[in-house]
């Protein structure tokens, strides 16, 4: 660990941190909208649309609702943005520069992933709007439901790799042996982690916390202008980060030591994951919160535990 402070800032703010992730994340939201539009027999927005939306929101007024504590209401989205930036940096650094990782970065990733919904809940409950509060309580219940299967999924690959806790080491293991996805336990873990990520992103069928037609966007309801832009950007970055997360932990990362065509194909892995997420999003209605909770507490949890047990016996 002999990085200079300058490099740390470069990693965090430019590449592969904030700037890189936000640009790719916004492009991802374009992919989302375009694929959605094509599935619905429409043409869809132009490539730069997410950027227009972002800059437009920066130029608008911001309202703080009456009775909301200003610091929490406006601060929460910023903390969310910061944590996603750090999250993507930690995930990507190990992928691009495997030597630069630090011990226990897996734990940091888990923490930061948990941070985003908590920050959203904080901001929404501070807005003193009953509908936002309902959105916050739904986000909370959902978060509690998908967190356990996610932990089991990660435990599965840790057991499988023989107790590695560094993302770089996990990647190295997959490069020397095979991606976790290609084993029985890894596949089960991938499926459950995938479903948890669909919920974390707040996409149909699990977009219960921000159901536009039921509770008017729930947690984002009271936000406007630049703060809304920050929230949207956080969402976009999370989008990218989720696909990287799944690729790195289960599919051998998108950059492998092997050269040639394989290299380019690797970059398509996160995109493939995102397209899969979009397909699920567009072919399902929204679940009720109790149905979603039952789904995570029974089916997904059982799947992930089964994967864990298989991993302990070495499958």
């Amino acid at each position: 660990m002999n990085m200079s402070v300058g490099w740390v800032f470069f990693y965090l703010l430019v590449f592969p941190g904030f700037l890189f992730t936000s640009v790719v994340g916004l492009l991802y939201t374009w992919v989302d909208r375009k694929v959605t539009a094509r599935m619905q027999f429409r043409v869809g927005p132009p490539l730069l649309q997410p950027f227009y939306d972002f800059f437009k929101l920066l130029g608008k007024d911001t309202f703080v609702p009456e009775g909301a504590p200003r610091s929490i209401f406006l601060g929460a989205p910023l903390i969310g943005l910061a944590s996603v930036s750090v999250l993507s940096t930690v995930l990507l650094v190990s992928n691009f520069f495997p030597g630069q990782a630090f011990a226990g970065d897996l734990i940091v990733v888990l923490y930061l992933f948990a941070f985003v919904p908590i920050v959203l809940i904080l901001g929404a409950s501070s807005s003193s709007n009953p509908i936002s509060a309902l959105g916050a309580s739904r986000e909370m219940s959902l978060y509690l439901a998908y967190e356990l299967p996610l932990l089991f999924a990660l435990a599965t690959i840790i057991v499988k790799s023989g107790g590695l806790l560094k993302i770089g080491d996990l990647l190295q293991w997959q490069w020397t042996n095979h991606p976790f996805l290609y084993s029985a336990s890894g596949a089960l873990a991938f499926v459950s982690a995938f479903l948890c990520m669909q919920a974390k992103l707040g996409f149909v069928p699990f977009d219960i916390a921000e159901a536009e037609q039921e509770i008017m966007g729930g947690i984002t309801l009271e936000y406007s202008g630049p703060v809304l832009a920050v929230l949207k950007l956080t969402k976009a970055m999370l989008y990218f980060t989720v696909s990287i997360f799944l690729t790195v932990f289960f599919w051998g990362g998108f950059r492998s030591p092997r050269e040639g065509w394989y290299h380019i194909l690797g970059w398509l892995k996160p995109v493939a994951i995102i397209v899969l997420i979009i397909l699920i999003k567009n072919t399902n209605p929204r679940l009720r919160i109790d149905q979603a909770l039952r789904f995570f507490w029974s089916i997904v949890l059982v799947l992930s535990i089964a994967g864990f047990i298989l991993a302990t016996v070495g499958l």
Binding site: F41, V43, F54, G59, E212, S224
Partner: protein, 145 residues
């Protein structure tokens, strides 16, 4: 430069909030029709916003009656500026055949500043797209954005 960027971005990303101020529903379903495959205004960056706080373009339909007027004013106050207001349909513009109604609160532009008028009963979706184009032209001409 920054101002120009903001303006260009706003012109390409108008989010719609639509207020049904006692209409007959026809303008409203034609507005929704704009988003569906035949017309697909998402091509131009228009989206339906769930909350007035996210909106840039306010579409008001219907003869504004006395009960709903207060709500329309409140929604207008909640939209972050700069924004564009369009009166959609003959009712919102003039009251149409409801001018005689005892519950008519006056044409929309008596209550809030209206930028674009889209006539018709109901206006065809094509006319609404033209109206939005006019709104964008008007936005581009604004100096203090």
């Amino acid at each position: 430069m920054l101002k120009g960027l903001k303006k260009a971005a706003l012109a390409r990303s108008l989010w719609i909030y639509h207020v049904a101020a006692s209409p007959c529903n026809n303008c409203d379903i034609e507005i929704l029709d704009l988003l569906t495959p035949r017309f697909d205004v998402e091509r131009f960056g228009l989206l339906l916003a769930p909350s007035p706080r996210h909106a840039d373009l306010l579409l008001v339909t219907g003869m504004v009656n006395k009960k709903v007027l207060d709500r329309v004013l409140r929604v207008y106050a909640q939209i972050p500026k700069p924004c564009v207001v369009a009166a959609v349909g003959s009712c919102a513009i003039s009251g149409d055949l409801f001018v005689d109604s005892y519950n008519f609160a006056g044409p929309l532009d008596k209550h809030i500043p209206v930028d674009v008028y889209i006539g018709g009963c109901p206006p065809k979706p094509e006319a609404m797209i033209l109206g939005v184009v006019r709104a964008i032209e008007k936005l581009k001409k604004l100096k203090d954005l």
